[in-house]
């Protein structure tokens, strides 16, 4: 146990976490150069392309240190985005130490700080690492200053590396061995192992990734999952060295995988504690939290024929993504689809992209919504995330919406613009503190719903890309919520209804109306597009009737040409959705809804 080091790398997106992980793997010889692909741990295409890690992975690296001893380095690769902070937490709970990665050219960012606090919460030993020192724009001194001022860590402890070139990686491996503690834990205690991740293997079922805190796990052991109170027998366990390597047991302090005949990923909860059936632990490992979706959106296939494929694809995604929820949903305008729950906007993006890319589906997503707590006049409390389920306004006593604590780190010159943006997004209790002479951290409390609507883009724009953002959910607060409907010649387009704060209702409705007016083609009659709260019209545009489509001449030769044109138009028409007597092309929904994020 004393030669084991369990650690993770925490960093802001883009700061080179995955590249560094690759370099460590290569340096330890866990994988030959021939087998090496960039970012070995990020196995999904999207992860590799976007350079972000979504699912955490783990790998055991044998490392012979300069003292001649063989060490077992368990690297736990953590997701780098706020949506996945529950996954980060579980990963952190399995470690004794963390490499805190700082980009030498970007410096400390909001997420780095958030991750630092998380790591401190779990009492991890932190090793600052300054990465990308090979870049011409690298400013190591400034990074050191920020490590000192923003993070309160010793800047001279920081190891300077270039994950890209491999410079400094040897020193880093030595620092991991010497500065990070070995695991504590009692082999004699009843078994306690934390499930910090799980994945689905079509041949073996669920593969649980665990950290053994006390006792041990062994093949044939009868185990119990303490939160779900389910019993299983361990079929296989072992370590992950790029591939699974079976062993007889996993001792105290080690990290590895367990296969125990679990059929579905939803049968287990990540964060749960594995114990021994005959000699159970007194209590599970603390800190267990279920990952709950906070953002909801309905997903529809662009062509209704694809509904079955969408259903299958979601089922498959769900095998590996316990946090994704979905239920059947239907819309008059868009047909059958699914109401899906996500951990955040990025999670939504990732799911959408995987569905479109890996399953070749073309999708329309309704405006993302948060979950509201609706107190009815009769005292009943309802939780509502779908505008179509929102009760009549007269029956509602009051509504509460989720709030977040948002943190934005930004060079001082953009402070005014960011404050303005936060105000406009109903931010409260805005505070800021200077991290250094030029850098400010601004925190404020704001509704989660305000982040869902183009907040990232706006922030990037007003800070010219220098602002970084992070948030955590805090509480529910009272809000003045209204349901905005979009009417096309008086008929409600259910897929476009949304729940918004009263102050935002008019501009939002106007934007939808205008965009629809741009994308719905002129038809045989005038079309009124309106935004309404109940019976009250708050926005309006019109599309004039088209006047003329008949061709002047139609003789012998033109008939074929004409017919082919009509056939083409007819194909286009078949893809239209009817709302009342109005034909709305799918592109209109796509354009309205895609502009939303």
């Amino acid at each position: 146990m004393k030669n084991v080091r369990n650690f993770c790398i925490i960093a802001h997106i883009d700061h080179g976490k995955s590249t560094l992980a690759d370099r460590l793997i290569q340096s330890c010889g866990a994988i030959s150069d021939r087998e090496f692909r960039d970012q070995v741990l990020d196995s999904m295409d999207i992860e590799r392309e976007r350079g972000i890690t979504i699912k955490s992975n783990t790998i055991t690296l044998p490392y012979t240190a300069q003292d001649g001893q063989l060490y077992e380095l368990n690297l736990i690769d953590t997701p780098g985005h706020v949506d996945f902070s529950h996954e980060v937490r579980r990963s952190l709970m399995s470690c004794e130490g963390a490499l805190l990665l700082v980009d030498a050219s970007q410096g400390v960012e909001a997420q780095t700080v958030a991750n630092l606090y998380l790591a401190l919460e779990y009492d991890l030993e932190l090793l600052p690492v300054i990465n990308k020192i090979d870049l011409p724009s690298a400013d190591v001194e400034r990074a050191q200053e920020e490590i000192d001022s923003d993070l309160g860590l010793d800047p001279f402890e920081a190891v300077q590396v270039s994950a890209k070139t491999g410079q400094g990686v040897d020193q880093l491996l030595e620092a991991i061995v010497h500065k990070l503690p070995s695991p504590k834990g009692d082999p004699a205690e009843p078994t306690q192992a934390l499930i910090f991740d799980a994945e689905y293997d079509p041949y073996r079922g669920v593969i649980m990734l665990c950290r053994v805190l006390n006792g041990e796990l062994r093949v044939g052991q009868n185990i119990r999952l303490m939160h779900t109170e389910r019993d299983y027998e361990i079929e296989e366990l072992g370590r992950i060295m790029i591939e699974r390597r079976p062993e007889k047991k996993l001792p105290t302090g080690s990290v590895g995988y367990v296969i125990a005949g679990v059929k579905n990923i939803s049968d287990i909860n990540v964060g749960d504690t594995i114990t021994d059936q005959e000699r159970p632990a007194h209590q599970p490992i603390p800190g267990y939290r279920e990952a709950k979706p906070v953002v909801f959106s309905s997903i529809y296939p662009v062509t209704s024929d694809d509904y079955e494929d969408l259903a299958k694809a979601l089922d498959k995604l769900k095998l590996n993504d316990a946090a994704l929820t979905f239920d059947k949903d239907s819309s008059t305008a868009l047909g059958f689809g699914f109401r899906c729950g996500f951990l955040g906007l990025l999670h939504l993006d990732v799911v959408q992209e995987r569905l479109e890319r890996e399953y070749d589906l073309s999708l329309v997503l309704s405006a993302p919504s948060v979950q509201y707590k609706v107190k009815m006049a009769d005292g009943e409390l309802r939780t509502i995330d779908n505008p179509s389920l929102y009760p009549e306004a007269t029956k509602v006593d009051h509504v509460e919406e989720p709030f977040i604590k948002a943190s934005v780190m930004v060079p001082e010159r953009y402070l005014g613009a960011v404050m303005e943006l936060c105000m406009e997004r109903r931010g409260e209790n805005t505070q800021f503190r200077y991290l250094s002479a030029e850098r400010v951290e601004l925190t404020c409390e704001m509704p989660l719903a305000e982040v869902l609507y183009d907040f990232y883009d706006k922030l990037k724009t007003v800070t010219q890309g220098y602002g970084s953002f992070d948030y955590e959910m805090t509480d529910y607060r009272s809000t003045d919520l209204v349901k905005v409907d979009i009417l096309v010649n008086g008929d409600r387009v259910d897929a476009l209804s949304q729940l918004v704060h009263r102050d935002k209702a008019r501009p939002r409705a106007m934007k939808y109306c205008e965009r629809l007016a741009e994308t719905i083609p002129r038809q045989q009659f005038k079309i009124a597009i309106q935004g309404a709260i109940g019976g009250q019209i708050i926005a309006r545009t019109t599309i004039n009737a088209f006047r003329k489509d008949v061709t002047a001449k139609c003789y012998g030769g033109d008939i074929t040409r004409k017919r082919k044109l009509l056939e083409k138009q007819r194909e286009g028409k078949k893809r239209m959705k009817m709302v009342g007597a109005i034909e709305i092309p799918q592109e209109a929904f796509v354009s309205v809804l895609r502009s939303d994020k």
Binding site: Q523, Q524, F525, F546, R547, K548, D549, V550, T551, A552, K553, C554, Y555, G556, G557, I559, T560, K562, R563, L566, E567, Q569, R570, K573, K574, A581
Partner: protein, 425 residues
Amino acid sequence: MAPGSPADEAEPQTAPWPWRPLAPRPEVAPTPGLYVHVPFCSAICPYCDFAVVRERPGESERFVEAVLAEAASWPIAPEAPPFDTVYFGGGTPSALGFEQLERLVVGLGRRLPIAPGAEWSLEANPEDVRGSETLAAWRDLGFAVLSLGVQSLDDATLRDLGRRHDRVAALAAARLAAATGFDRVSADLIYATGGRPLDSWREELREAAALGLDHLSCYELTYHRGTAFERERRLGRRRMLDEDARAEWFEATHETLASQGFEAYEVSNFATAPRHQARHNSKYWSHQPYLGLGPSAHSFDGAVRWSNVRSPRRWLERLQSRSVTGGRAAGGEDLPPAVAELERLDLEQLLLEAVSLGLRTRAGLDLVSLRERFAVDLLAASGETVRRHREAGLLELVGEPGRPWLRASLRGWLVSESLTLDLVP
């Protein structure tokens, strides 16, 4: 057996191509029309996208022989009914000399079954009308219908359109023609060319209506791909009237001509009496068969459409080479020498055509005959659509009990394309 005279054609299946063109089909009124495309023009108009060329010396003689060769190559089924209309269009048929026209008229009559009472029509440019003698000669050749390419009575517009005649020539030709004793004299006019007020067009229409003509064709200027006008439009040097304005000009055209005693029997065609409606062109809108000769000419036998090689010179080469076959149809069969493309239409395509063409006519769609041809009851299948469009004043249900016709109103005509797609979704 090589293509020969129709009299030898006892076994149509032995022809080098497998279908039997112009065989009577029970679902089609069995009176085919014959079209001859004369591709020569003295200059190419900047809006025109027809298959036209400037004639090289001696070319029109070779053209006439080639048309006759093409006519002779068609294996007309012996039971096929004779052609009852013959239409010389172009291009500029009036640019052919009298002898050439005569050779065509006589030669076609020898090679194809043309009914004794067939209606012969000739398109002519005003500048080719050199006096009453020219007109009388055409009439005496057997042309009962003269269609004058007047295009405009406004000199500025004529210049803009690149025409080779002026207002005076146009008026003179029309007046002379009206007095020559043709069964029908018609004039073509083009509107919405831009650069003039709507009222001057109304005035022009009234003037044209007072010339003693029996028929007018009024076309909105169309910007066809590949034309000089379209290129200028794309480059921003020429502005097309916007949709609302074009609709306004269309309505003004119809209102003005109606007030002058011209009834619109098709979207762009007007006649002073039902007997003056163009018999040949009406075949296009009522799905009757027709055979086209000459470059780019199109043919239809009730279920198959085919078209000739578009380029006049290539068409000529194909016919002069005396090869037995031309290109290949999508089905793999060899095509006759002049034919470039052939398409067999299924019932769904025929229905789409029948509705879109029928809606262009004032008579509209004969719902009973549609039901017989396509086993589709439009009133049942698209009842809700019909009701909605009738309420909106776009469609009208007329005819006698048991024999309903569905037709587009004037406003319906403007949007007849979308009405078609609503009726046969």
